[in-house]
Symmetry: C2
Subunit: 413 residues, 2 copies
């Protein structure tokens, strides 16, 4: 039996259903934010499955969780696959989790088919990919790849002031795993991540597999506007320093300047905090986040200049600042891995298309460490970061069949 044929669609689907209960929301999505009790529960469930199959398990000081199926050559660097188990506050059940469960299914399929590989094959769940509770996102994989510094990340605080270090200690206490000594990061032969597309292209073009060639660049900003709290009934307009009126001027100008003709630039104001938030007090402070992405770094650079100009000129009489908090350049995946994904997809007779990823993924950090690639499967209407996010059992299994064939080939090089 081939490894692809050993992939079991029903088992993979059931595992998604079991995981969706952890942080499950009434609308069918999940709220399983990084290093929450729900995240810990997901770690425990994955480890229980791994133990039942006799795979080895370990974690590192960033809380990245590894499940390994041994190879023939004990000294060979592993082939790795995975994604993340944390979600947005109102997230879907497939974003990230599919990549972890597809990797685990690949390990099980190799086991069930009795296939031995030269290199170990490893499934990984990276800590805090979403970046909604602790910023920046893709933190576990970035520390693993040496892109972010461990010590700095451990000091990052969520909006309640809890440090990542403390939240991580809680999580590892609730979901204990053998700890790998030393800093995160070790030699990896190659990395392939499966993920739902999170966009509408595969569905629109009626393709099952997206052969991912690149990830667009992304930058994140925080804009802060100071006003002056004042009584809503007595303070004349001319005497106001209304931070939300200023924020409205900035946001309106920003939406206008980011309206590109070919609709490739992604501009999002996602979090907005208006203080003190009383209906009859003129807002004294506003803070909002900007998420901006494009495949071309020069375009991002040009638009950043425009945003800075708007903040400098349109907030008057309120002082305003813009700070860039992350800047991730576009990633181009290894052509050998990309070609292998395409070849295995064709060999399995699945429809496919080459495409860049609109979203950032852990794979962009691993791509700095080793040859890397990604496999996309469709999601309904392209909707993600939403409780109604959906995908079909057949598409999820198809992506996993491609994945296991690719991993097997890489592990036997």
């Amino acid at each position: 039996m081939s490894s692809a044929n050993a992939v079991r669609e029903d088992r993979l689907w059931q595992r998604h259903a079991d995981m969706a209960k952890l942080g499950g929301t009434p609308k069918g999505g999940v709220n399983r934010q990084a290093l929450s009790p729900e995240d810990a529960a997901a770690r425990n469930l994955l480890m229980s499955w791994a133990k039942a199959r006799g795979f080895s398990i370990f974690t590192d000081v960033m809380g990245n969780l590894f499940v390994q199926r041994a190879g023939i050559d004990a000294n060979a660097a592993p082939v790795m696959s995975g994604s993340h188990m944390d979600s947005q506050p109102t997230g879907g059940r497939f974003d990230g989790m599919y990549g972890v469960l597809a990797a685990f299914e690949a390990l099980e399929a190799l086991e069930d088919a009795g296939i031995r590989t030269k290199r170990p094959v490893m499934a990984v769940a990276w800590t805090n990919e979403e970046g909604s509770r602790f910023q920046p996102g893709a933190m576990g994989s970035a520390v693993f790849a040496g892109t972010y510094k461990l010590d700095e990340m451990l000091q990052v605080k969520d909006w309640k002031g809890i440090t990542l270090k403390d939240a991580l200690a809680e999580t590892l206490k609730a979901a204990p795993a053998p700890m790998r000594d030393g800093k995160p990061g070790f030699a990896v032969d190659s990395y392939v991540e499966a993920h739902i597309e999170q966009g509408p292209r595969l569905e629109n073009e009626n393709k099952t597999i997206g052969v991912v060639t690149a990830i667009q660049g992304s930058r994140r900003y925080i804009v802060e506007i100071d006003g002056e709290e004042a009584h809503a009934g007595t303070t004349p307009r001319s005497a106001r320093k209304d931070a939300f009126a200023a924020a409205t001027r900035l946001a309106a100008a920003m939406y206008a300047t980011t309206t590109d003709a070919d609709d490739t630039l992604r501009f999002t104001i996602g979090r907005v905090e208006v203080s003190p938030g009383s209906p009859n007090t003129v807002p004294g402070k506003v803070l909002f986040t900007i998420d901006m992405r494009h495949p071309d770094n020069a375009v991002l650079e040009e638009h950043e200049k425009a945003l800075r100009e708007i903040v400098a000129t349109r907030a008057k009489p309120c002082p305003a600042r813009i700070e860039r908090v992350t800047n991730v350049a576009p990633t181009y995946f290894d052509p050998k891995v990309v070609d292998l994904v395409r070849a295995k997809t064709e060999a399995l007779g699945l429809s496919h298309m080459d495409m860049p990823s609109g979203a950032g993924h852990d794979a962009m950090h691993l791509a700095k460490l080793c040859p890397a690639g990604m496999i996309f499967v469709p999601c309904e209407r392209g909707i993600s970061h939403n409780e109604i996010e959906n995908a079909t059992p057949a598409d999820l299994a198809a992506g996993t069949r491609v994945l296991v064939e690719v991993l097997e080939a890489l592990a036997n090089r």
Copy 2:
């Protein structure tokens, strides 16, 4: 000794300082929201002072707190003065509290001067004037005057889902007072409320006393916009239903349409909730409040039409609704009370001007029940609903001297 001469500036100022400790903030303001533990502490402090002077105390089922100095005629309806002790979340130490402490100082001054009045004179602290925790504001006085229904108000919930009924029970347990039987409301001869201006006019015109002739009308609204949560990196602009982008269009149009030439209209967006509030998720829902005020009801009516038109036409592709939650018509105070305030101010040799109130006050509800009026004193730069709100001991005492003379005259009619 006249009652005005018995007013003690130092005592009044010290009482403000003592009250400012209850819910005091690092910036020198107060966070003493309605029916909070801090509100209960303020009630206990006021009652301890009242007991020390031998005044009688009682509360009603809305938690309004009354302190009475007996009159000669036991059957005569009382003359009443007061305001509120609750604050904005980041409020000042004078808004409301001054009116309560000025009324209490008036009772003490009458006592110290050995003046007996025909009618009882009463100080009152009304429950929940601010309306920031429980909407609408001026709730205690409105129920007292029969404008709002007790049963409906008891069911009002704060943003955490706690009912006013439960919060009130907690408060009355923590600050127990003899309960007056029956529904709130009883015969009142007349009502005079002292308050800081909360606007810049007295300071700008260098006057000590504002003789308040009216209160402008105010309306409050909630605007709700539905979008669709989506991934910030993958969802093309054309496929988005971005609730905050729609909110920005509405807010920008609203700010533009409420820019009147004579700067009399007050338009404020004070509370803004953007969900789910994740930097990399397109907002799926926005809720914001509008507070709009003007002395002329017809102007408010006209602008409400414009706001409704904006919500109906500018939010596409997001469905949006606007709901009016309060509508308080302008109040005109009793000319006899207004004339008496002006006459007593002149007799004391204090500078003064007639003016309408920009803010709503408990007096607007009492004005439906009995002859009523208000006395304003300046506050620094007109700033209120702000922790830096400030007023001088001399101005506060001046206003109280006018108040006690007016109350004495009314109580001896």
